[in-house]
Symmetry: C2
Subunit: 203 residues, 2 copies
């Protein structure tokens, strides 16, 4: 759709790197949430002026979705990788440890962008909420397929319901992110993960 550039660049080239600016924007959204991040916050962190932002990213909602894409690609890569673990327990362990690592190491903001953005706020953010919820639903669907395969492969006792296990594991991880965003200590989060893994059924 946007591949045909017969004359590659025309006019004055922009003076900033859109990718770097998007990284900065992601950090702001991650810290303050969609509505809490004002355009002034964003332009300041991105080091560009307001019209430049609108020219490069459309509007606030469009900018957020691009930041969300970046977030899923860079920060949530461990989720896709976790599904390739050989057993359901391995999947759960990789998901939990991945979330734990993200919340306890590195200089990224605490909490999960998805969790922050999926809690209801003003009506203008409603479309953001449905977007985030939809993405999570697709992620949960992939996890469900993986657990159904695991069940067929005998990873669980018979009485275990894969769908229940998906919402269960999702809930634990969401709770972990929430607690991390609210200032929980590293030890508390580690013992949360340890406890969860200690209770995990099957192999």
């Amino acid at each position: 759709m946007e591949t045909l550039d017969k004359s590659p660049i025309r006019g004055r080239p922009r003076e900033f790197c859109a990718e770097e600016a998007l990284v900065a924007a992601l950090r702001v959204f991650w810290t303050k949430g969609y509505e809490g991040a004002s355009m002034s916050d964003l332009t300041e962190a991105m080091g560009i002026t307001r019209p430049s932002l609108y020219a490069a990213f459309g509007n606030k909602e469009s900018l957020f979705k691009k930041a969300l894409d970046l977030y899923e690609r860079d920060k949530l890569a461990y989720v896709g990788a976790a599904l390739e673990a050989p057993t359901a327990r391995g999947v759960a362990e990789r998901l939990l440890r991945g979330a734990l690592d993200m919340q306890t190491t590195g200089s990224d903001p605490k909490g999960c962008l998805g969790v922050i953005s999926s809690t209801a706020c003003g009506s203008e953010a409603e479309c953001i909420r449905v977007e985030v919820v939809a993405r999570r639903a697709s992620s949960d669907a992939a996890l469900l397929r993986r657990f159904e395969r695991a069940k067929a492969e005998g990873d669980f006792p018979d009485h275990i319901d894969p769908a229940g296990l998906v919402s269960y594991l999702s809930a634990v991880i969401q709770g972990l992110c929430l607690q991390a965003g609210n200032g929980a200590s590293t030890e508390a989060l580690e013992s949360l993960v340890k406890t969860t893994l200690g209770l995990w059924p099957g192999r």
Copy 2:
């Protein structure tokens, strides 16, 4: 502090019931969050004018805290009652079922006011966040005391860490509220609870 009323009522009495108005305000905060609820939303739902609101409740932050008190008293009564269950499993079951009932029955808004309000938003809501987080911390502390007693009474296998179990159970319930707020079906939430109870250690 405000008990000494030698001359009981003076001047024109107010024309609305403060308690009913607070119930309406709680509902608005519960649905839209602290920042998402505008003063216009609140006054409309409460059926009073803006100056009446300020005269009766101070300001928005003060109104929210009063609504939060009401919420804990009326909607979170099951939490205190749950701690009186005879075993740790009973405590967990009552907490989970209480949360599930609240999210699936009745006409109240979905999601948990505490969870909604503890996710970071604008800087003006930061004091609200710390308030909510502090209340949750005290609730978790009570749960920890209960689980330590339970451990002394032999409700758990030896390898179980009560503190880890507290953050674990909190996470599950927070995740449940989050999913409920995001439109999860009743069956999904029920299977979440069922799965959690199926994995619960000890008695």
